[in-house]
Amino acid sequence: MKNKAKPRKTSVVLFYIKTNILQAILRFMDIEVLLEQIRDNLVELNSKMEQLIEQGVTGRRIADFSKSKGSPLDAMALLELPDHLRQSAMSLYELERATAEEVSAKTGRSRSIESAYLNQLVGRGYVKRERGKLSGEAPKKVYFYLGGE
């Protein structure tokens, strides 16, 4: 009896551990999704605030970027962008595909600021973002590129 009880006990423990790991992974995935959603919302909020600030400071009419989702970042769209975002976008035109760090080396701004600006362009649907997957790219780094091909 003792011999039979031991493996049963072990399998119960194993099952318990597996379930816990699975739940932890699911929780972690939930957190990742949640964080992603929070970040996207913050980017959208930031974009709207910047539109209002730009309008207030320069008096320039700013386009409704909620309608720009999926539109190409062509010359006309570039003209509608606030100056700081246009600088990031123009750098991407030259670099084609780059990390926030590479764009910041071009614009002379800090990496974190550049990352925020590039994410705003992603939020507006003009720029795409993905983890490095091409040859020579670091898989853990995020690469930004223009859509439209």
Binding site: P72, A75, M76, L79, D83, Y93, G148
Partner: protein, 246 residues
């Protein structure tokens, strides 16, 4: 490398003449110059510069070939013994190409801008890249303006040009943070040039008088090469210097 775009609000201001002669003066001074005809909607330069390259500029912007494929060597037009180099990217004058350029969609324009930004990398060994554009706010002209380091605005002394150019600067160039200079062309009375300069918020680099000899040459040759002693040639030399100091 200095990338200079020559632009205006209205047509007929003399952009092409200034672009070509400015490029010629620089090449005659020993510089490597690339002149790009970004006026895809009404190409002209093929009348003076015979097409020798394999492709038109339009083909490159459409995604074909690389920059050297579209450049025609026009140094020979400047005479013998020129130490510099003049290469020209000509726009296709065939109506099908013009129609295609006018009707291309936003994605095509986006790709055209991407191609042009890549071209700048290939042209980095040139001293000057001079871009002649179509007037007003068109995709081709904005693409050229966005890609350039310096903007040369050409205006005639009349109220249409004053109003349009002022609005162009205020509403279009304002946020671009580019170096910019004004050329008042076809000036009949010097006070007219002053009036334009006072009304437009850009430093005046030149006030070029209205020379009847220019249209009389029938745009059939490079004016500064044929007329080295003419005052217009002097104006181009001084203008090039002033652009350098912008």
């Amino acid at each position: 490398m200095d990338t200079i775009v020559v632009h205006s609000y209205k047509g007929g201001t003399g952009k092409t003449n200034i672009s070509l002669n400015l490029a010629a003066v620089a090449a005659m001074q020993g510089k490597r110059v690339c002149l790009l005809e970004f006026d895809l909607e009404s190409p002209n330069l093929h009348n003076i510069i015979p097409m020798k390259s394999e492709m038109w500029l339009n083909d490159y912007l459409d995604g074909n070939g690389c920059v050297p494929d579209v450049l025609t060597d026009a140094t020979g037009l400047l005479g013998n013994g020129v130490s510099g180099e003049l290469r020209v990217g000509l726009a296709n004058p065939e109506m099908d190409a013009v129609r295609k350029s006018v009707s291309s969609d936003r994605n095509a324009q986006l790709n055209s801008l991407k191609r042009f930004m890549q071209a700048k990398k290939e042209l980095k060994d040139y001293d000057y890249v001079i871009i002649d554009t179509s007037p007003g706010v068109t995709y081709a002209s904005i693409n050229a303006v966005l890609s350039a380091d310096k903007i040369l605005l050409v205006a005639k002394p009349d109220n249409f040009d004053i109003d349009g150019t002022s609005r162009l600067i205020q509403e279009f160039y304002g946020g671009l943070q580019k170096k910019m200079g004004l050329v008042v062309n076809k000036v009949i009375r010097p006070e007219h040039a002053e009036r334009v300069a006072n009304a437009i918020d850009a430093p005046m680099l030149a006030a070029i008088p209205c020379y009847c000899e220019l249209p009389q040459s029938f745009s059939s040759s490079v004016f500064v090469r044929e007329n080295p002693e003419h005052p217009f040639t002097g104006e181009m030399v001084r203008l090039l210097e002033k652009i350098g100091s912008l």
